[in-house]
């Protein structure tokens, strides 16, 4: 199959300054491709840098080094004005539907804001018309136009967030934990909507989530992160059915199964604690918790290599 690369991320590195001269490298030297029309999931535990990577990929946080190519054009070095035409093609859906909508703006104004910024519609009436269409596309009604965020439930707010994200007909949407704050029964409504919208508008998603069951359902490919580095990246079913990186194995085994008949007498429990990202372990960052670690793992950082149809960064496969 001929897959076209939408976003090419090369050696991306993001650091946050701490007090003094210390730095946390939230994303260190990450390279990956996002293909057109796919849903790529980014999974990992809190603090592994998945949100930072997602934001850096659409230039919401500045990288220290590395390059971004969007449809073949280098975008990381463009100034704000030159970046404008690309910015509108990259949008974001946030985790907390309570925090990401301005409480003093009506839904009409929230969704119209990007349209006004890019002067899409010729008149106010045309803008309102467009907003109404967008609301209908996400399952809301015209009556909702002049309501405020607090008048909606969590699921409806997330629908508003989606309407805002698709207002400019983007190509790429970074979805940062879009259903984590929602109840189970509502979560599925939003996932269905996101899938539907993706087909309808020909979108590509970067789907950041810690919920591994949701990821399995929605993602075409999965990218597993640990402490700012990629461990494993490949087709979702391939990884879920036969994980190769030791960390991926622990992660997938830890998912609680909603079926008491599948209870296990004992589980693979990940030993130890997450190392500090300020002072990450040398060599493979997972070696302090890895039961298979060897001397090599302590000294040299593993490179990504092709293993059983996916990419894995582990010395086991040298």
């Amino acid at each position: 199959m001929d897959k076209k690369i939408l976003l090419d991320v090369q050696n991306l590195k993001v650091e946050y300054a701490l007090k003094g001269k210390k730095k946390v490298s939230a994303v260190s030297d990450v390279s990956l491709n996002v293909y057109e029309n796919e849903i790529l999931a980014l999974v990992g535990e809190s603090g592994c840098g998945k949100s930072t990577l997602g934001k850096a990929m659409i230039r919401l946080v500045p990288p220290v080094s590395g390059q971004l190519y969007f449809k073949g054009v280098r975008i990381d070095d463009l100034d704000t004005k030159a970046f404008m035409p690309y910015r509108r093609q990259m949008q974001m859906i946030f985790q907390d539907p309570y925090a990401c909508l301005d409480p003093r703006m009506s839904v009409r104004d929230i969704v119209a804001e990007p349209l006004d910024t890019y002067k899409i519609c010729e008149s106010k009436e045309a803008t309102t018309q467009r907003v109404t269409e967008l609301l209908e596309a996400v399952g809301l009604k015209e009556d909702h136009l002049y309501r405020y965020a607090h008048q909606f439930s969590g699921g409806q707010r997330q629908r508003v967030g989606i309407a805002r994200a698709i207002a400019l007909n983007p190509a790429f949407i970074v979805c940062d934990e879009p259903v984590s704050a929602l109840d189970v029964s509502v979560q599925n409504q939003i996932l269905n909507l996101m899938k539907e919208i993706k087909e309808q508008y020909g979108l590509t998603y970067l789907f950041i989530s810690h919920d591994l069951s949701v990821v399995r359902f929605i993602a075409d490919r999965v990218c597993v992160m640990f402490l700012g580095k990629l461990c494993e990246i490949g087709d979702t079913e391939l990884i879920y059915n036969d994980p190769q990186h030791p960390y991926t194995k622990f992660l997938l085994d830890a998912i609680p199964k909603a079926d008491p008949t599948q209870r296990r007498a004992s589980r693979l429990l990940l030993p130890g604690e997450l190392p500090s990202p300020v002072d990450p372990p040398a060599g493979c960052r997972f070696h302090t918790r890895c039961p298979y670690a060897t001397a090599e793992c302590k000294n040299t950082e593993p490179k990504m290599k092709q293993v059983k149809g996916r990419m894995v960064a582990c010395h086991m496969f040298d």
């Binding site: 189970v184 029964s185 599925n188 810690h210 069951s213 609680p256 199964k257 909603a258 008491p260 130890g272």
Partner: protein, 325 residues
């Protein structure tokens, strides 16, 4: 009754607000047998946390217990004075919360905080108390207990903080531990560790556990018996295996289907129509009826719990007629 740790009967608790009475807990009965893990599952606002707080008698104004009884090892908790209840809390019954960061004092060493709990209830010296704390730290799987004793909460990871909370809750070896979404703020690998720890404590310390969660996976992994709550009421209760294999209430069925359908990539996900109701604007009769796919004339009347099989109760008129499958 010797083998029952906690017996809650017809417990009701309400919030009295300017806009009316909110029945957060509505005629809830729960039995916790000795050495068992009981699950309460439901979505936000269903009353599961309020049930827990009522049992602890920690409801804050304008919330109040309006009826029912709570018996811990035969002792009626609703009849106790506040001072008596304060002695029961921590000693015989304790609680851990979802967010371990907000439940710990940020300016006090964690060891001291746990020590405080035992000094409050036992007449022992500080030195003995410290020994006891370190022993408890080891028991809940805290590595390097001496070093952690002198740490402040912000120096510890989320998983370690939750272990500290569990150590604090367990230090007096209570008969009952109420865990309100204990793993919701944690990562899956840490969640697995904490769940294993709780199972272990049930066996070694002889403590019964009430586990409150919205996550059906967590419930399925550790609970013996499960109560499903919706809009302040229990809508279904059964042992874990029966509940997951043969859910009878349309709401339970909907929840199960929501989770199960995630396993099949190529379908449209099962959903429950609508959203969780506002407790001030509950419909007449069955609270779930506006979202129910099997609604009929009988749903306009208030529903009572019907025993469809031994120890399997369902609050739905239709469950009487439905047979297996």
């Amino acid at each position: 009754m010797k083998n029952t740790t906690l017996l809650v009967e017809h417990l009701s608790a309400s919030f009295f607000t300017g806009r009316g009475e909110i029945k957060a807990v509505n005629d809830v009965s729960i039995t916790v047998p000795r050495r068992s893990i009981i699950g309460i599952v439901g979505e936000s606002g269903c009353g599961k946390s309020m049930t827990a707080r009522s049992i602890m008698r920690l409801l804050k104004y304008p919330g109040k217990i309006v009826g029912g009884s709570i018996r811990l090892m035969g002792k009626e908790l609703t009849a106790l004075t506040d001072a008596e209840m304060a002695n029961v809390r921590g000693e015989e019954i304790s609680m851990i919360f979802q967010e371990p960061m907000t439940s710990l004092n940020p300016v006090m060493k964690v060891g001291k905080q746990v020590q405080e709990a035992i000094l409050l209830h036992r007449k022992i010296t500080k030195k003995e108390a410290k020994e006891e704390v370190l022993r408890m730290f080891r028991e809940v799987g805290i590595s390097e207990p001496e070093k952690r004793y002198n740490c402040y909460p912000h120096e510890l990871s989320g998983g370690l903080r939750q272990r500290i909370m569990i150590a604090m809750a367990m230090i007096c070896r209570p008969k009952l531990l109420i865990a309100d979404e204990p793993t919701t703020a944690l990562d899956v690998t840490v969640e697995a560790q904490i769940l294993e720890l709780m199972k272990g404590l049930r066996d070694t310390v002889d403590t019964s556990i009430v586990l409150i969660s919205h996550n059906l996976g967590v419930i399925a992994e550790v609970c013996d018996y499960v109560y499903v709550m919706y809009a302040g009421q229990i809508v279904e209760q059964a042992d874990t295996f029966t509940l997951f294999e043969d859910p009878r209430h349309p709401y339970t069925k909907g929840l199960m289907a929501s989770v199960k359908s995630l396993e099949d990539k190529n379908t449209v996900l099962e959903t429950i129509h609508g959203t969780v109701p506002n407790l001030l604007e509950l419909p007449e009769g069955c609270a779930f009826s506006p979202r129910c796919g099997e609604v009929c004339e009988n749903c306009r009347q208030a529903q009572s719990l019907i025993e469809v099989a031994p120890n399997h109760l369902v609050r739905c008129y239709a469950s009487k007629e439905v047979q297996h499958g």
